[in-house]
Amino acid sequence: MSSRSSLLTHSQQTASMPADVISVRKVQEGFQFVNSLASEGESDVEMSDDEKVEKSAEANDGAIVTPGELVTDDPIWMRGHGTYFLENKTYASVAGTVSRVNRLLSVVPLRGRYAPETGDHIIGRIAEVGNRRWKVDIGAKQHAVLMLGSVNLPGGVLRRKSESDELQMRNFLKEGDLLNAEVQSLFQDGSASLHTRSLKYGKLRNGVFLQVPSPLIVRSKNHTHNLPGNVTVILGVNGFIWLRKTSELDTANNSSAVVGKNAATLSGASGEFKPGNNSVSITRLEEESSWEIYSDKNDHISDVMRKTITRYSNVIKALAHCEIGITEARVVAAYEASMAYSQIGSLIDKENMEAIGQDVINAERMRGNA
């Protein structure tokens, strides 16, 4: 048996068959390296005799560096993530871009798992129920910890946690359950401790889950957004996203200022509690922290609503496919752009996803804020 197709040729014949039932993209006599067609790398590698002149110059801000590369030999910089220090010189330990903030020098990796920071609004999935704590998968290097003492339990916010609570932890949250939470603190080893001690956090229901690469979600003040069509999206900083039917609480909380007020009433620190139009009263609070917040039952969700949720889910995937940062404005813009496609199912095709991404970018350019 002899080798039939020459390895050195990378002739690509791409044929795309648009079809209703299945879309198939075909590539013959090739595997990858679509981009290397024009490059010179088609023959055996010559040993180059001319050694490249070693750059002693520093890598600039935003420049790409790769592991082992000298970033600076100036010892005044503090060394942050993605760097290491050897004989008074700072080297990169990951492939990424150089970032200099004040005195801190770090390399931001191009890819990598979510690294939690205190205050992050995240979504997680219960991985394990343990002794007085839950282990939560948040897409980070390690599972986060949610202590029994860090959640609101039925029967009043301020009550003490008892032994019976410990025994029925699975009745509150069990393996597979999704919740949104805030990163309360970080442990020495970088893993996160979570809390859900606010009405905007807790078990998630009435919707669907999807996941995008975490760098696409930009940290901001507010991660819960009410979208047109009575749908609420929670853009977890860790790249986990929840789309659900807008609840009463969502409408009440539609500005972060109100959330802040609620938090204040919750902790009881502020004496200036005023039963305003937008805030939730103490009695409501007590009602909300009844068993209902751990309910496993969905409300009634109409078919139209389900369709809207599906459409939002597909356009968010389209944005992620195009590696466009995901914000409320862009989700809405992409949703509007997607209206050109009456079939929601056609949004999973690559070309359509790219067209939507392009639409969103173009619209931003037109408005001049790109």
């Binding site: 050195l8 055996d44 590698v45 592991p67 330990s93 492939a95």
Partner: protein
């Protein structure tokens, strides 16, 4: 059948290379974004290798947890169809494969900054689709690329190459015909330095020739590092350009 001439008096090898020439090397990273944290596809001559890295992540078993650093595991899958003749065994749990896995773990354990990721596990999965000599060196290069793609901190690149000794001439980057005809050495070189993180000598090599073998091997590894670095930067620039739009 006439005996193949491994190294002609004119200085040409079976595939037309000179003694100090590498085989064609092409690589790409982030090839399996949905299935792993980091991935690479590497062609070194006729070797074709897919490498997937998952982690650092919560260990599947408590026993695999180390409170001070991450643990690395390598699973090497040499497919039945990887050689011209289909092999009868699946190569799993073969002693040679187990040894290669251990050697690879050792090679990377010192280079990856494992202390940054305590209580986690880094799983490396390698699928060899086709092999044609110098397999170990291709595995090293594939793992280096996939680890970097996963954003896992390491001190430097490790680039691998094999060198054979034909009579008194060292030959760089052996294919399988050459590998079967002479004794060979596999190197894993750290970055641009002359430090070795792996030295594999499986046959007899005259000690007085070792120096010339190592010299050409290190030079070849540096060239491979450059090629991998070029691909990585190209990939990085593409991503950055994409994000800024």
């Amino acid at each position: 059948m006439s005996r193949l001439e491994i190294y002609s008096p004119e200085g040409l090898r079976v595939d037309g290379r000179r003694w100090n020439e590498l085989r064609r090397l092409e690589c790409s990273i982030n090839t399996h974004a949905n299935a792993s944290d980091g991935s690479s596809y590497l062609e070194q001559g006729n070797n074709k290798v897919i490498t997937l890295v998952t982690g650092p992540q919560e260990p599947k078993l408590r026993s695999q947890m180390n409170v001070t650093k991450a643990t690395i595991s390598v699973a090497l899958n040499i497919t039945r169809f990887s050689k011209i003749e289909r092999s009868k065994s699946s190569h799993k749990n073969e002693r040679r494969v187990l040894e290669m896995q251990t050697a690879l773990v050792r090679t990377f354990e010192k280079n990856v900054m494992l202390h940054l990721y305590p209580r986690t596990q880094i799983e490396i999965q390698i699928h060899v689709l086709q092999q044609d000599g110098g397999l170990m060196s291709s595995l090293i290069n594939g793992i280096t690329l996939a680890l970097i793609d996963a954003g896992i901190a390491m001190y430097d690149y490790i680039s691998g190459v094999s060198i054979g000794l034909y009579d008194t001439t060292p030959l760089l980057d052996l294919n399988s015909v050459e590998e079967n005809a002479m004794s060979s050495v596999t190197l894993g070189v750290v970055g641009k330095s002359e430090k070795l993180s792996l030295l594999l000598v499986e046959d007899k090599i005259p000690l007085d020739r070792m120096e010339s073998v190592l010299a050409i091997g290190i030079a070849g590894s540096h060239r491979i590092r450059e090629l991998m670095d070029k691909e990585l930067r190209k990939h990085g620039e593409r991503r950055l350009a994409n994000m800024s739009t």
